[in-house]
């Protein structure tokens, strides 16, 4: 039995396993504080130039593939986009009017003005590196003002939240991530204002849970963030309801949501810079 301990290779192996447990424990501790662990920072500093290069080359080739599409398809898309711009401009004018009115009314009844949010543009340099977690790496970090808990969005809606920040990188966990330590996002039905919690399932779909049995929700409803908890801003699109079911026991309802943004197909995004408690 003792001869095993005289074998240097086995001793190295056992020591490395003990070190792995130590590193894992330290990592969990630092992550629960929202900061990054220094060995991870070191690896990310080394790997970032490679990630930027590979992501750039990938983007270049997908750009070529897109431009190879037929001229007709582009013209059709261009016409559709022109119409969309006209429609959105009209909508913008009325939204600005309503926002101004809301500000005036808030001031009249003495409500505190919400702090304005800043959108920081970021590039996603690595995404979905494992089947078991839906995470991504951003090309900017603490030095750019990113903090743990901040929301990551595109013009189409919410992608996820920052969960770990290094000086020059940040890790994002997508709302579709189904791992145990992901608590979900406060959400509501835009039409009826019914609130619930949107949870990832590890697949491409989301689950809206904790809805009362008589909640007003139906297929096609748009789901937005509720802003509850004060971490993720209110009103960001999450997705659309594709099915509603009553849970066993009949006391609760839940809905399956198709997210409006897919992390795997996103190259650029914005981090919502706001104070996070």
């Amino acid at each position: 039995m003792l001869h095993i301990f005289r074998n240097g290779k086995i001793i190295t192996f056992v020591l490395l396993l003990v070190l792995a447990i130590g590193v894992g424990t330290m990592h969990n501790r630092t992550q629960s504080r929202g900061s990054s662990y220094f060995p991870e920072d070191a690896v990310r500093v080394v790997i970032k130039p490679f990630q930027v290069a590979v992501s750039g080359i990938g983007g270049f080739f997908s750009g070529i593939a897109k431009s190879v599409r037929s001229h007709h398809a582009f013209r059709k898309e261009n016409d559709a986009l022109r119409d969309e711009v006209k429609r959105l401009n009209m909508e913008l004018v009325s939204i600005r009017e309503e926002a101004a009115e809301a500000r005036r009314l808030r001031a009249e009844i003495g409500l505190k003005e919400e702090s304005p949010e800043k959108l920081l543009p970021v590039r996603i340099i690595s995404r979905d590196p494992s089947e078991w977690f839906v995470t991504a790496t951003l090309d900017r970090g603490r030095t750019s003002g990113i903090r743990s808990g901040q929301a990551v969005i595109t013009h189409r809606g919410l992608i996820g939240q920052v969960f770990e920040v290094s000086p020059n990188n940040a890790q994002v966990r997508a709302i579709t991530d189904g791992s145990d330590d992901h608590g979900g996002v406060g959400a509501m039905v835009q039409r009826s204002r019914v609130v619930g919690i949107c949870m990832g399932q590890g697949s491409d779909l989301l689950q809206l849970t904790y809805l009362s049995k008589d909640a007003d929700i139906k297929n096609g409803d748009i789901i937005v963030t509720s802003g509850q908890g004060g971490v993720v801003p209110k009103g960001l699109p999450i997705g659309r309801v594709i099915s509603v079911k009553t849970e066993s026991g009949g006391f609760m309802k839940s809905a399956t949501i198709r997210p409006s943004v897919k992390l795997g197909q996103t190259e650029e995004a914005f981090v919502v810079i706001r104070k996070v408690e």
Partner: protein, 164 residues
């Protein structure tokens, strides 16, 4: 120390590629694990101790890119690196069937080990993904093994020619 430089660079490059795998390469939810493929292929040419060290570094790289469960990534890769190195001293690894089988067995075992420490919902779905990943990694290991062998043969021919 010098023997780790090129393998580590290969692992770093595999890590950068791992985070940019195009969606058309994802089959039934499974994507190739390039870091594991590089680790197994290289560790087959090392002794178990060196394989474990390389596995530790591979796990650190993979865990840092994912940002979650760093300890589980390091532990499973260390075991895989050690096992791959162990195979080299026990079996004849020049035969391309050996790395393919080793990659398959170690990917399957490594993923099951990882899932045991990080339980995810839907065991059957996860098992399906693991099986596809096992096939993917075995195939890629065969390709990488041939590439490495081709480079080694070319180098030997050049060295022989230089001696002449």
């Amino acid at each position: 120390m010098r023997k780790y430089v090129i393998p580590v660079l290969m692992l770093v490059f595999a890590g950068a590629l791992q985070g940019n795998i195009p969606s058309w390469m994802v089959i039934k939810g499974a994507r190739p694990d390039l870091i594991l493929v590089v680790l197994i292929t290289i560790a087959l040419g090392l002794d178990p101790g060196a394989g474990a060290v390389l596995g530790f570094l591979a796990g650190l790289i993979h865990g840092s890119i994912v940002g979650v469960s760093l300890g589980s990534f390091i532990a499973s890769c260390t075991i895989i690196g050690f096992a791959a190195g162990f195979v080299t001293i026990r079996m004849f690894s020049e035969n391309p069937i050996v790395p393919v089988i080793v990659a398959g067995v170690l990917t399957f075992a490594g993923e099951i080990m990882f899932l045991l420490t990080n339980p995810v919902a839907g065991f059957l779905v996860s098992l399906n993904i693991v099986l596809f990943k096992t096939l993917y990694n075995s195939l890629l290991t065969l390709i990488l093994f041939w590439v490495i062998r081709w480079i080694q043969i070319r180098r030997k021919i050049k060295m022989a020619a230089a001696r002449l």
